[in-house]
Amino acid sequence: MGNKQTIFTDEQLDAYQDCTFFTRKEILRLHGRYHELAPHLVPMDYTNEPDVTIPLALIVSMPELNENPFRNRIVESFSEDGAGNLSFNDFVDMFSVLSETAPRELKAIYAFKIYDFNVDNFLCKEDLEKTLNKLTREELSPEEVTLVCEKAIEEADLDGDSKLSFADFENMITRAPDFLSTFHIRI
């Protein structure tokens, strides 16, 4: 890295490159962004893998996430402790899945997690209602919300259990070609 301060060792960068969809330059850029979020918490030197996490409130203040209606869910889905605290590795994970090159299956898994508000491994009506309210600023009447959600379930539910399992969800995703490009956050 020449005259620059060493942030990661070459081995670390290799590991990041092999396990995520980022190049080393992007990893370094991500580290910069991560460092920016909490300069007093995050050290510049990551060669000894410090155990640092950044709380959800700081993460969602990133301009990339700030306006996203699902920002809290996204961060929670990727945080190892579940409460939304992200270590740098989680942070990299998050943007790796949301990067352009991540495959559809991987994206689908995490999208499912994000939409599964009550974490029951199904997208039930309740989840869809929450999603809808987040997407429409809660301006639809309760009847309309119910109607829309019922319709959505009816459309996508293949096995007739009136909630969407991951299989249903993935089936829907494969038929929605835009998903790959829209489930994507540029960093």
């Binding site: 080393r24 306006e67 029951d120 309309e144 379930i153 007739g160 993935e170 038929r175 835009d178 956050i185």
Partner: protein, 979 residues
């Protein structure tokens, strides 16, 4: 430290940790129950016996514990989800993925499902920590082994695609690398050492190259900004623009490097006749001074360069081969991107998903602008409302109304096609006029400014048509009423394409028929005409964005508020780009440096459009389907545009005589004769005989092309048949899923009636029977059931060796499973039922343990009763258990999924068949087990939520019961997984 479930190793870590460690403790101290005396009920008993060892405090009700919930999300929950669903997904993925990859993935996911649950289950069964670790490592080793067996590239891809956190991936990767290096070190030799370090260095170098490429990536920040403000749809325009820019940069490099530089080296100064000087207007017209430079075909010499110490360089061949290679490469790139785009974005797309799609897939995560987000939400709301109202009034339109619609369609299509043809005709007459005028001015050879400016008339008119007529077309949407807004967009696109292509077709016809026979240096004339078209088109695009976007913004915001801020019309703008690129492709032969102009044009256009967009436009109202549109645009770029340009150039090269007095091919009959001459030269050298042979027998032989096209046709036909077959298959499978759903509903109904009758009988029996006896017979029954089930399972899995497994064996297995489930379900119901008498404990901890013991006993009792009764199937009575239906649904669903997977498996993997059926069978089993566990989860949830319960007694059972249920569920989950 890093293990796939780090929580287990870190005290107080994530979720699973506490459960595991404390159950360990419990099983080593408190439990005395017989364990693992038999695989069936005994195991369950053992698990039940361990219930008291599970500290209740660590398993709080889910609704009150976000932490646990989160954990669930992150580890076990997510992983269960993984396993349950992953195993079902291969059918979707199979056609595209290699079998090995799938099995790896499958295993990876299964491993993940087993870990968090399996470890605790083992703990409860009294296994030592070492055993558990072994178990975990076994699973991991299998995954690692599979990864080691892959090539480096595949392995990295597989690791990246694993749905785990980075730490887990890193751990796996570390293991794989360690194993690899271990293997290597055993064959200690210098070569392997070198190759390792070499491959590492190579990979790092490759990674550096990618980084460097990313640094060079144009407009990353701008793209992000546009995407953030306007979403993916608008961004696709800019991506398309950038992509075309790359094409042009490539073509410029090729042409400049192989044609222009040699020409400039040998003839540094162009032969400009006296009296011609640079006046400035040439930049617009491309005539005059430019016509004698290397800008056009005419500026190149036909000599074989190489006198005076320079190496030989045959200009004719260079010119011909460069253009040909460029065209071929362009075509290949287009076909490749078109095919991959079709495969990724179009194949499975259908319009059947409205609401669900809008809800779950339409949100654009890349939008980061606050205003854009607000607008998007508004639009979505309006669309949802619209779709709701559409649902209400689906009534078919009356016949007269429909006839009117068809009439309007017919009228608009006739009008638009007529207009396109009219424009083509007018362009042709203008061309004739232009020709006579050019001939006169050529005779006079005066070259006044006015005459030069007059050459701009034709491109001006053409561009004006291209600007105005599409605007006129867009008015059609006021009178047309397409049911689907996408149809409308397609209609507009098709009309515009017809218009543009008819104009270009007429122009090409004019150039090849009239210009080629009239003028002495006709290639340069055509090149100039194309140059003018490109330049004037650029001016009009600028004007268009001024009038189309800026003015309508001003009008919309200042004068007529109802019009509103204009939207960025992606389709129209992309079609403009396609038109511009077609011109550049046609011009590549006549003006090799035209790509320079095109590069400058696109570069300016990018910034212009960006400014115009951010200043004047609002995000499009209808989001989505951008990917499909992109595919269509690439297809249009390929089909009429590139193919048209290619055929034009090919016709020129093969049949038209090149001009006598200028250009590299002067004096030849056709351009292609250059190759003939070259071959004749080569013929004299023995070493190149093979080239001549290829030329004569392949390139010039009709039979070769005939055979090639025949083979291609056959392939197309075969692939078409395969596609048809797959489509049919998809329909069948869908139908099957629906049928299974019906099946399930029917069975559910049956179950409910059965249950109702059973409940009554049970009440009677309870008082009569002796408990001991019941227990033993019950055990026996359970064992029997389990045994039977396993036998059947074995049978069916062995019968899967035949290529098309009978659905029968599956269904017997699953019916056995179902019965087992059913039995268990009953048992659990009973459990609750017998618990209703337990009073609400004041102090939960001690009470719960005693309650647990009671619960256990009661359950065993209940189980025995139930299974007994179930198999005898007597007439029974009422039991208001509401959790059962959902549980059954789960089981059914799992079964059906498993079955469908089986089917798909067979269909898609026929050749690689041998080992898979068994594994898929076991996966089916797993599915069922997992479904059961999920069912149990739900059941317990049901009990945990008194508010939603329809049980009158549920609220009375108290927290001890709830905890007991929870604990039991946990244990059984684990047990199930282990099984």
């Amino acid at each position: 430290m890093v293990t796939p479930t780090p929580g287990m190793m870190e005290p107080g870590g994530r979720g699973v940790g506490p459960t595991f460690s404390s159950s360990q403790e419990g099983s080593s101290t408190a439990t005395t129950m017989p364990r693992r005396e038999c695989p069936g009920a005994g195991g369950r008993r053992g698990a039940g016996g361990d219930r008291d060892s599970i500290p209740m405090g660590l398993l709080p009700p889910r609704s009150e514990s976000p932490r646990w919930q989160q954990h669930d999300l992150n580890h076990s929950g997510y992983q269960i989800d993984q396993a349950t669903h992953y195993d079902t997904t291969p059918p979707v993925r199979l056609p595209s993925a290699t079998a090995g990859h799938v099995s790896m993935r499958f295993r990876g996911s299964r491993k993940m499902s087993l870990f968090p649950v399996g470890e605790a289950a083992l703990g409860n069964l009294g296994l030592s920590e070492d055993d558990i670790r072994n178990e975990m490592e076994n699973e991991e080793q299998i995954l690692v082994k599979e990864l080691v067996a892959m090539s480096t590239r595949d392995r990295i891809k597989a690791i990246r695609d694993l749905p785990m956190s980075f730490d887990d991936k890193k751990h796996i990767r570390g293991q794989v690398l360690a194993l690899k290096s271990f293997k290597k070190s055993r064959q200690l030799n210098c070569f392997s050492d070198c190759s390792t370090s070499f491959s590492l260095a190579f990979r790092r170098c490759g990674a550096n190259m990618t980084s460097a490429r990313q640094t060079l990536e144009l407009w990353r920040g701008t793209m992000k900004e546009v995407g953030g403000k306007f979403g993916t749809g608008v961004l696709s325009y800019f991506k398309f623009l950038k992509w075309l820019l790359m094409f042009n940069i490539f073509s410029f490099l090729v042409n400049f490097g192989f044609i222009t530089i040699p020409q400039l080296i040998y003839h540094p100064t162009p032969d400009i006749p006296t009296g011609v000087s640079f006046k400035g207007l040439e930049i617009l017209t491309g005539a005059g001074y430019f016509s004698h430079t290397v800008m056009y075909y005419g500026g190149y010499s036909n000599k074989t360069q190489g006198t005076g110490g320079w190496p030989e360089y045959n200009m004719q061949l260079a010119y011909f081969l460069t253009i040909a290679a460029y065209m071929v490469l362009c075509g290949a790139a287009l076909i490749y991107s078109m095919a991959s785009s079709f495969r990724k974005k179009y194949v499975l797309a259908d319009s059947g998903l409205g609401g669900a799609w809008q809800l779950l897939c339409s949100w654009d995560f890349s939008v980061t602008n606050e205003r854009a987000v607000r607008q998007r939400k508004n639009n979505l709301r309006i669309q949802l409302k619209e779709s709701l109202s559409e649902k209400v009034q689906v009534a078919l339109l009356p016949l007269t109304e429909r006839l009117k619609h068809y009439g309007v369609f017919l009228g608009t299509w006739l009008l638009s096609t007529g207009m396109a043809l009219g424009c083509g005709a007018s362009v042709y007459f203008l061309c004739q006029y232009d020709k006579s005028r050019t001939r006169q001015s050529a005779d006079k050879a005066s070259g006044s400014l006015l005459e030069e400016a007059a050459t701009l008339l034709l491109p001006f008119v053409v561009s004006l048509i291209n600007l105005v007529v599409p605007l006129f077309y867009s008015l059609f949407k006021k009178i047309e009423h397409y049911s689907n807004p996408r149809m409308q967009v397609y209609a507009i696109i098709v009309r515009n394409v017809i218009l543009k292509m008819s104009i270009l077709g007429i122009l090409c016809y004019y150039w090849m028929k009239d210009v080629a026979n009239t003028f002495s240096c006709w290639e340069s004339i055509v090149g100039q005409a194309l140059y003018r078209l490109v330049i004037v088109d650029f001016l009009f695009i600028m004007l268009g964005s001024f009038f189309g976007e800026f003015l309508s913004n001003v009008i919309g915001t200042k004068c007529i508020q109802s019009l509103g801020v204009p939207e960025f019309d992606v389709a129209r703008n992309v079609l403009d780009l396609i038109y511009a690129q077609t011109l550049a492709w046609i011009g590549i032969y006549f003006s090799p440096l035209l790509p320079v102009i095109q590069i400058i044009k696109f570069f300016i256009l990018f910034y212009l459009k960006k400014v115009s967009l951010t200043q004047n436009c609002q995000p499009p109202r209808r989001a989505g389907r951008a990917a499909q549109m992109q595919t269509i645009f690439i297809a249009i770029l390929f089909f009429p545009s590139f193919v048209g340009a290619l055929s034009m150039v090919a016709y020129t090269v093969w049949t038209l005589p090149p001009s006598d007095k200028c250009g590299p091919f002067r004096g030849l009959n056709t351009t292609f004769s250059a190759i003939q001459i070259w071959m004749d030269d080569l013929n004299r050298v023995d070493a190149f005989q093979w080239t001549v042979w290829i030329y004569q027998h392949v390139i010039r032989s009709e039979i070769f092309y005939f055979l090639v096209s025949l083979i291609i046709l056959v392939f197309i036909y075969i692939f078409r048949q395969i596609t048809q077959g797959r489509k049919l298959l998809i329909i069948l499978l869908r139908q099957q899923i629906v049928n299974e759903g019906k099946d399930k509903a029917f069975l559910l109904e049956k179950l409910q009636t059965l249950q109702k009758s059973k409940q009554n009988k049970q009440k009677n029996k309870k008082q009569v029977r002796k408990r001991q006896e019941k227990e033993s017979t019950g055990m026996l029954q359970a064992l029997l059931a389990r045994q039977r089930l396993e036998q059947e399972h074995g049978d069916s899995s062995s019968s899967f060796g035949v290529p098309m497994p009978s659905g029968h064996s599956v269904s017997t297995t699953s019916s056995a499973m179902m019965q087992a489930m059913l039995a268990k379900q009953y048992a659990e119901d009973q459990d609750v039922a017998s618990y209703r008498g337990v009073p609400f404990p004041a102090d939960p901890a001690p009470a719960s343990s005693s309650a647990l013991i009671q619960a256990m006993q009661a359950r065993q009792r209940a189980e025995s009763q139930n299974e007994d009764e179930f198999y005898r199937a007597p007439v029974q009575s009422q039991n208001p258990v509401n959790a059962l239906p959902s549980a059954m649904i789960q089981v059914m669903q799992a079964r059906q999924r498993a079955e469908s997977e089986q089917e798909e498996d067979e269909f898609y993997r026929e050749p690689v068949h041998s080992e898979h059926p068994v594994s898929s069978m076991s996966s089916a089993m797993m599915q069922v087990m997992q479904a059961r566990q999920r069912a149990e989860e739900e059941e317990s949830e049901f009990y945990r939520a008194p508010a939603s319960s329809q049980h009158p007694d549920a609220s009375g059972t108290g927290s001890a019961l709830i905890q007991a249920m929870l604990a039991r569920q946990q244990v059984e989950e684990e047990y199930g997984d282990r099984y």
